[in-house]
Symmetry: D2
């Protein structure tokens, strides 16, 4: 912590600040310049910088360490890479997770799952418990939805990612899914994060729509501090003044987070844009900017989807997007899964 | 809903949109202008406007009703007023809720409670379960904190407001407190809101730092839809580009919400500014703009508070603020509680 | 400037940074903590902190001085107070500037001016050159508008404030007006600001809708650096995610700017809200929070105004607002001009 | 325009609104639903929607046409493509404009120009008149800078883009440059835009940091309305709550603007990120999302640049970036200029 004193400060004011910091268990280095006194403050005491800032003669207090530890590159310089079954997250391959917004019925789940598998997705996404802004919207099928998703994922050999909204749902979701997804609105549901830190399954943590990168990493810290090291960060759009899109997908967060943290960074262009016709450009941009993976809503019949149909791709659009991504990924030394059918063809 | 077609649209495109809307159970009124066709769409069917917007030939879809019902003035034109014990919320008197950020120990709770009572507060605030951005910060005393707050509130004849973070805490808090507070980070914790809708105690619902007024009222709707009509809205600052304050307290939300909704609107200038020296100006502004009440952090010894000391007023600052507010309130035909000691003096 | 090195940094990296800073003419104080090396950097050299931040081994660079000088309280601790004719700006009296958005014709200007004078305004506002988002909107009467405003201001003994959009307009406006107004969209028109710094008339500088407080004070610095010390800052709403109002009037900027700067701070609740029915609550809030003055749009017939009618008060609404403000101002030790007619009445 | 009446509205209120609209020269279609009356309003009269919204009984007024005309795809469905010398803007080739932030001296300009030409840039960028937030920063070389840039562009056969800040600079810049650049801070300097509409050289119009897409297109409209059809839009980052980057580069604006308008859209990742190490990822993202061109700061010696060195690429970084872009562009059916040296090789 650095304490910058005001220009016209009395010796007593400086000494009172120093004495207070020492009392709180800190070491203070005083540096007197032509215009200002600056105090370098180190040590293991607990100090609230805002309180020091209110002391007489203090101009400003600057923090010099990030408040998160386990999530930072300072703590762990090399990239975090882990397996979800046979899928390697955080490595050279860009991992695509795709599927419907919500599980609606067996046919819808199965048809959609087959389509995303065929196009090269490595994991299935799909909601059973849905957080909806309005109490009058469809709230998901609950455990029945989990059962449908689990069956389809098994049939088509995909790993399953699904959203958990409350600690009371952890147990049942744990029985069906491979990855817990925490939605943007729950990014600071600390009770939930702490409990997920005690599980041993990966957690895909979406960024809150108004969360700074620092707050996002602090939320990851809640999971990591519980001993669960398998956290994936997922950018999904932030709220800005612009109303032409639902949210502003913050593509620049990708290189920034990868510099500050060792955790893999995914991007969800479906929620980030809210409109099907904007998903492909933003998915391409995310891969070009260095994302480790994508989370994309695909529906076998988006026009009749029970939720978020407007932002779900038709299977044919998803196919085309995957083909475009396969051209882009090598530009930054990465790959995207080849179409399994094509591969099988080649293997013969 | 109003569907605005593009300028150069074919008759088939218009008819396809109309047919689709009729299929979904809606009535459509077609209006052909010189440049554009506009469709007025009414009825009780379920239509996702974003899906219609993606149809060929459609320029834009405009919603003409608010998505919330019970929270709106359309549904209930007159102001909601209710009693919390002997305190009348939503009436002519501006209600001040004050107290420490967290309960720390018996002396701190009792001294602070006595001070805020003396100055004219009508309810005591104080946290036992604390949502903290960092897993390494003080997380509250839990039930022991509730016990301390409850005892002090009883002794000094104040109603108690405290924060609930998770449905698992509802039962224990219900035993001690008069009002459930839902924090900004939980404004869209729909599981929690739905459960609070089933209780019969008032809910003070803080606005999320990036919640629009509409989303805030939709969250209130979750509580109201459960049959609990005693909801207080509380503005506490929104996130903007400005970094000179912790948040930007949105004073203009007061007249706006009071126009759209019948629910009482309170303001929390402590979290809204994050700095003790900015609390009084913003508290005065809130009352001048028409707030029904205030939520203010006061601590008997803010310099040694375990949380949020920087934004807690000293008791003497709170006294002075209450005196200023008593001058301002009459400008808009309202009052603020006189100092009880003074009143007792007059009664004799 | 404080340079915070990364945790695992080599001695060479630290020395390279120090050598570079010394080469740029700075003095460096090195402070080695358990975890990090921190460098205190002082001196009169020119250093771009962003460049230092890109050097190897550097974690972060923190600035310890504001980039503005003449506008800061560090430079001038006491409040700036000056006269505009017989009107004292920045003193105990809250100064109200009122009038129409644009000058339209003689009758409109004169009737409106008479009304605002009667209610207690001290200066007349009115536009002759109008910055409009659309090239198809009314762009003002030009010099003819200045003539009308000047005549009305003279007749009713008010000082005149009008907007200047370009350096080519300075000369003609200087002939008619007492105060140059710089609009929000021109807050960073540095060519204009520099030129206004060479005039000797006060400049009312509106805050840009996305300007930080620091940028606003830097723009004031352009005028001050030219030798013109009569600058009034005017908050008029910032752009946020909220769409329920046109802008979010940042009331909290008032106490913040008054702490950082000695310049008077005014508030424009008309542009800040964009709706007539929200002007009075926000005007009251501004005065309660400590504003030195207000800028309010009043029109004798707002329903037929050529611009901004929706945010212009009817004269009767303005009268009522002035009466409310007279109750509020004393709460913070200030006054508002009494109705001149009333005063004249008393004098008899 | 659609006028939505309140639910409990009287017949007189509806009729008063209709009468008022008819008086203003509009045609009104009345549509009575179960809950609400909705009025469709068409015609060529001038109506301020905000004024109608304030009438009794009115719930909301919705606009159904964009306020811009010439800039819209409704007016001109096909893409705008034009030549700047031998460079085709808006066609299949992605055009890269590169060069230093400011012209500093002959050697710096010439070395940098040679480097960007070699790597495949088609136009040279460079500033002679610089808008700087602080009056104490380097303000550019003025006409001498233009002379240096012009000479280097000629020598290396590149077109020249440079910033104009004020109408007084148009004439001199016109003598040296091929494209006028309007900076973000001047996006709503309407006096300047109107004057540029009278020139016959292309205008590269940067988006203001808090401008909505609609406002940006309205500013383009000012130029187009003057008869100058050669406008290039340039996204350069918007201001959001996030402080980890200087601005948030709004990549999603690319597909949105291309849908609403026929004008070419460029992206400036240098100002958009403010840091050299974030420029390449965002440049790649922009091309992947469909940008028609890029504007990139390159400096032969960024560590000693007089402005914006931190966001300027080293020539070798720019080479590498161009190579990456050549892989990405074909994913969306576009190309990027091959290295001229390579081409010369082929020609032999």
């Amino acid at each position: 912590m650095v304490v910058v004193m005001k220009e016209r400060v009395s010796t007593e004011q400086v000494e009172r600040v120093i004495a207070h910091l020492v009392e709180l268990g800190m070491d203070v280095h005083r540096s007197t310049g032509a215009a200002r006194v600056v105090l370098g403050v180190v040590g293991s005491g607990k100090v609230d910088p805002r309180l020091i800032e209110l002391m007489e003669g203090v101009h400003e207090v600057l923090r010099i360490t990030e408040p998160y530890k386990l999530a930072s590159r300072t703590f762990k310089p090399e990239d975090t890479v882990f397996q979800v079954g046979d899928v390697r997250v955080g490595g050279d391959e860009v991992i695509v997770i795709a599927g419907p917004c919500s599980a609606e019925n067996e046919a819808q789940v199965d048809t959609t799952t087959a389509a995303v598998k065929r196009a090269g997705a490595k994991m299935l996404r799909g909601g059973a418990f849905k957080p909806r802004s309005s109490p009058y919207s469809f709230q998901g099928l609950g455990e029945e939805g989990l059962r449908l998703l689990h069956a389809a994922a098994n049939t088509h050999d995909l790993r399953l990612v699904t959203e958990v909204m409350d600690i009371s749902q952890i147990e049942v979701i744990d029985r069906y899914a491979d990855v817990f997804q925490v939605g943007a609105r729950n990014m600071q549901n600390f009770t939930l994060l702490r409990e997920l830190g005690r599980t041993r399954k990966p957690v895909l943590l979406k960024r809150g729509i108004s969360a700074t990168v620092e707050e996002w990493l602090l939320s990851a810290e809640y999971v990591l501090a519980g001993g669960n090291t398998q956290v994936v960060l997922c950018e999904r759009g932030i709220r800005t003044f612009e109303t032409a899109t639902r949210n502003t997908l913050d593509i620049s967060a990708i290189p920034i987070v990868k510099q500050l943290s060792h955790l893999p960074v995914f991007v969800d262009p479906s929620h980030g844009t809210g409109r099907r016709d904007k998903v492909a450009p933003m998915a391409r941009a995310a891969v070009a900017a260095g994302a480790d993976g994508l989370l994309i809503e695909v529906h076998c019949d988006p026009d009749h989807a029970m939720s978020d149909g407007a932002q779900s791709l038709y299977p044919a659009q998803f196919d085309r997007l995957m083909a475009e991504l396969r051209i882009i990924a090598p530009a930054i030394g990465r790959s995207i899964c080849l179409e399994p059918i094509a591969r099988r063809g080649w293997a013969r």
